[in-house]
Amino acid sequence: MSAPNLLRRIGARVVNGVWRLGFATRFLFLVLLYSGQSFRRLHLTIRELWFSGVLSLLIILVSGLFVGLVLGLQGYEILQRFGSSEATGTMVALSLLRELGPVLAGLLFAARAGSAVTAEIGLMKTTEQLTAMDMMAVNPIARVVAPRFWGGVISMPLLAALFSAMGILGGWLISVVFIGIDEGAYWSQMQAAVDFRYDVVNGVIKSVVFGVAVSLIAVFEGYDCAPTAEGVSRAITRTVVSSALAILALDFILTSFMFRGQS
């Protein structure tokens, strides 16, 4: 491929990216604008809580438990070198509450619920269901998109909290029950080190931000996909990839604001 041609293609991709970003922003405002209409029909949002929240429960609980088990093992192995294996609880709790809980739950959520939302909306678009709704004078953003967006935004922090709690129990299981660290030390060191405002609330804020990002990406990719089978499958891939990137980038930004130069 000749150089000018390559440049032109890169330029076209950049312009396309900026164009989509603009559309996504406008789309977010539309979703917020029509949210009032969809909240008057609360059962629509509750239905989406079922799809994105309840159906993600199993994967979140099981993964949280395993991550906690691994953290307990690794934490103990490293900390005992310094003779402070009692701090295992602290390490498990802080790494889960600040980072792993929100981030891993967000990634799992994007893969489980985000992709499903994109597929559902994309399929409705492909089979002209969204157009049909619009022709019946029912706004598809209010009826289809907004409830799925809010279902995700509400589910995400709840799932992240479950993930962290499950992980801390997993850490307790491995270090107290199997390895035999003193139970009192596990909990009391944890309580002394974990601060409600600083660690728990910041973790919840992170998970809310991730919830907004993943839900927006999922509904946007579904709504914007090319109305073909191939278009839907590409949109699902894009949802998972962009969500993962967005979560990790946002996590860096939030962490640098929340945990800089203190403690």
Binding site: L49, V54, L158, S164, M166, I168, W187, A192, V200, V204
Partner: protein, 151 residues
Amino acid sequence: MSRTVLDLWVGFFVVISAAALLFLSLKVGSFAGFNSAPSYVLQAPFDDIGGLKVRAPVKSAGVVVGRVSDIRFDPQTYRAVVHFSVDARYEFPRDTIATIMTSGLLGEQYLGLEPGADVEVLKGGDTVQMTQSAVVLEKLIGQFMFNRAAE
């Protein structure tokens, strides 16, 4: 799936998530810590604070009684001024000594309060006059070498 069963599951989901949050705040975090309890702020000047950080615990007789809230450098005296809040339930005599101590050999540093015998107590905004700086390992080693050389 009928709507009532669906609502039941969503309700279950919300309830266990709320329980998880409660667990995180009460059992894992120290929600009942210094944030909610009323406290008063004291300050203490130090020659060297070592590695003391904001939010480090303030302990007396090994019990956490407060937190370091702010650390500043005073350009007039060239000393560090540590502000810390103390739980309002505890009162300390005016001649209390503030010391920067380390938990264990490599552990985190905290502010220790050693109460004196004065009848008057410290009030919010007061300054703890008697302080003892952090033990800095490098200085200690330097001193030791210097003494040996002088012998």
